[in-house]
Subunit: 460 residues, 2 copies
């Protein structure tokens, strides 16, 4: 009896701790009795008793046939309140807002994109001039529901080139890559569902998922993709509905998915109704393409999304979704209902720029510049005791460990006062397990002032 | 006892009928016991007994402290399934998709926008050429979180001109007008909340609100705004969280809000926590501005939204929200999380076009053309027995009653086979009370073939 009581309290303690840390927010569906029993290696009746006690305390509520939920109302939706109570320095929205808001004089090694001068400016200028001469309809009218046909044709061909068979009617344009994921979330998720993300992952995934009031579970990321053992355990414990990841170049680590990890991951997912969103936004930065989950899977369980914000222009908003036909049909209805189709103009300009003969040459130049900047940044950071976790094969991100005992959030706060926008590790970590990590953008890290400020702040 | 039993069954019958008609979908929160008792003029205990019987039958579920909900799971979200089971002809998404998808040869008197040739083409071409010469940052970078400053400055001044005091920091740009409403819904609403709309109203409001899984209640619209008695009753019965309307030129009726209706409506809303979204998309079409709820209210309970799709270009997506500062703060976080800021380019082009000296003259010409087209269309329709419900003071919409006994949806289906896209009344009506109404766009109704096809179809 006593041992039973201890186990019941242990289960209650786990739930209460997750509520306290805001891993579970009001309305979150907690693991089923069966899943919890398995995860904690206790009996079903122990978990049931724990859940019932928590219900009696008003901590949980139940809905017949749906399971157990964290109680308490949540409205209106304020994202800053939904997340863990953090310093604004490591809030998922903080880096976005800092990077978008700070003056152009600030140095931004924490910024997620290339400097404006590295983008395909000539191509965009040319495309704008072409658009100014184009016919009246392109200038004035709404796009077709799925989006501008020539750009979708281009994408369909490009996807074919990396082994993904996505006919024209399976490619839909969106306002941005984030918008593409948001539409998928709205289509698939209900409040309380569980979503897996990589830990660390792109911080805006946290903010986006919080807006959907879902339960976010992080899977540790390794230099060749998600940790497969942890991924399998998370499938079992949390019965997640969705997993969001980058395969080609992972944000923030810069690592790439290996074929063996891709294969094992899909084998595990195969037995479940998990949907995987593969965010392929960094595809054009790769020297040789890493394996794609969407190619292995044939767009059955995997949806590929992407955008042009990192290569052509972040100023002209356009993204895409490639998915199963029946899902595209539902997504296009949802897109019309919530944004009334997209802009023909943005897609037209992107299409002109990306099919321009200069684009390929421009990207070759960018890849070369990034390789040089990567080497240079590694050397500079190592000189002040900051070590790369992995040296990426391509891309702009470098995920680094700070000297022992350094708190990245505190360092970011100190450096911000000297005009340096950094990206502290815990903003990317669901488990808050990256306190001493920092993401650097090698394309934004050439200025020697950065290392002087960092060195001073580290020594302080 | 017998009379009690009858009353209990009457309450159960009302709920079941609303579920059958899909007014209440799974997850909808039904009226509180108190509100239902008041609405049906029965005792609280009668309603409670009715709700409990429905719970026993599994029709309803309850959540302590939150109320009663329609049972049954809903996922994934397919909008066509969420709505009433209608012919696709009167589905809220049907007109959008038909208008966006059909070839340019089709005649579209049901279309919601001006022909491409009526839009501000010259201004857009000029703005594109200016953009092509603009600095690198405008071409490449993300916009500030609130959006492109010059366009927000323009909007702040323009709002001031119609009596709305909205400083720069209270104006946020969005991807479109629909996107603006969507963000507000995400911020304020939870599944099961009730939202008031005009009946009839812009059909996409229905689709958008269905995506939020809320309970939609229509308030009959009169030629001077919503029916105030019905509005007051709906406030009492449904305790709605939000009301969405057009003040200047109402879609689909073309009617305008009167000062007395505006004043009475705000007086009723004052005692509640209702939020009002005023969609001001047709402002530039007015000869003399109608009263604005946002001006009367001083952006306390009212949020104004708008876009440039109907005047400058639907191809360049950009909308705005003007609201209380604390709401703007939350909305901007939500915008970054779900679409990662907006496009600097679209806002830049819109700003150039709308501040161009030619824009005012262009719109004068459009208003004149619309007045002529309105007169002409009224004559043509009356000749075949189709009568305007009200002759609008401005704008492109004409809401008409068909000859007695005509089914607008059937007429639309017949005419579509002859290449005519129409907008049947029930697509705009939450209560499906506009079976014999049709919305015409006078700017798309010049071709005499339209009246020949309509006449033939009416006689068949």
């Amino acid at each position: 009896m006593k041992r039973d009581g201890t186990r019941i309290k242990a289960v209650m303690g786990v739930i209460q701790a997750r509520i306290a840390s805001r891993t579970y927010t009001p309305g979150t569906r907690i693991p089923s009795v069966r899943a919890m029993a398995q995860a904690m290696q206790v009996s079903v009746s122990t978990v049931l008793e724990a859940y019932e006690r928590l219900m009696a305390e008003g901590v949980l509520t139940s809905r017949p046939g749906s399971g157990f939920f964290v109680g308490g109302p949540v409205a209106p939706l304020a994202l800053t309140e939904l997340g863990p109570k953090l310093d604004r320095e490591v809030d998922p929205l903080w880096i976005s807002r800092q990077s978008l808001e700070t003056s152009n004089d600030a140095l931004k090694p924490g910024c997620g994109w290339l400097p404006a001068s590295w983008m395909y400016e000539a191509g965009v200028r040319k495309a704008l001039r072409v658009a100014a001469r184009s016919d009246t309809m392109n200038l004035a009218e709404y796009a077709q529901p799925l989006g501008h046909i020539p750009l979708r044709q281009f994408l369909s061909r490009r996807l074919g080139g990396i082994g993904i068979d996505a006919p024209l009617e399976q490619v839909m344009l969106t306002e941005s890559g984030t918008h593409a994921i948001d539409l998928i979330c709205r289509f698939l998720l209900q409040p309380g569902d569980t979503v897996l993300v990589d830990d660390p992952c792109y911080f805006n995934f946290h903010a986006l998922l919080k807006a959907h009031r879902v339960n976010i579970v992080g899977v540790p990321y390794t230099p060749t993709g998600p940790d497969i053992t942890a991924f399998g355990a998370a499938l079992l414990e949390h019965e997640p509905r969705l997993y969001i990841t980058n395969s080609g170049i992972h944000n923030p680590t810069g690592a790439s998915l290996s074929a063996v990890t891709a294969h094992r991951l899909l084998k595990l997912a195969d037995a479940t109704d998990l949907v995987i969103v593969e965010d392929d936004i960094f595809g054009d930065f790769e020297h040789t393409p890493a394996p794609r989950l969407s190619a292995f899977d044939g767009l059955e369980q995997v949806i590929q999304i992407g955008s042009f914000s990192k290569t052509i222009s972040a100023s002209i908003r356009c993204g895409y979704v490639a998915a199963r036909s029946d899902w595209i049909e539902a997504l296009v209805d949802l897109k019309i209902a919530t944004t009334f189709g997209g802009g023909r103009m943005a897609a037209d300009i992107i299409h002109h720029a990306i099919t321009d003969s200069g684009y390929r040459k421009h990207m070759e130049g960018v890849r070369l510049r990034l390789t040089e900047a990567m080497d240079e940044t590694v050397v500079q950071l190592q000189a002040i005791g900051i070590k790369p976790w992995v040296v990426p094969r391509a891309g702009m991100y470098l995920w680094c460990q700070l000297p022992e005992g350094t708190d990245a959030a505190m360092l970011a706060r100190t450096c911000l006062r000297e005009g340096l926008v950094l990206a502290p590790g815990n903003a990317f970590s669901q488990a808050m397990a990256a306190k001493d990590f920092m993401r650097f953008n090698v394309a934004q890290s050439a200025d020697s002032t950065i290392y002087e400020v960092l060195k001073r702040a580290l020594n302080a």
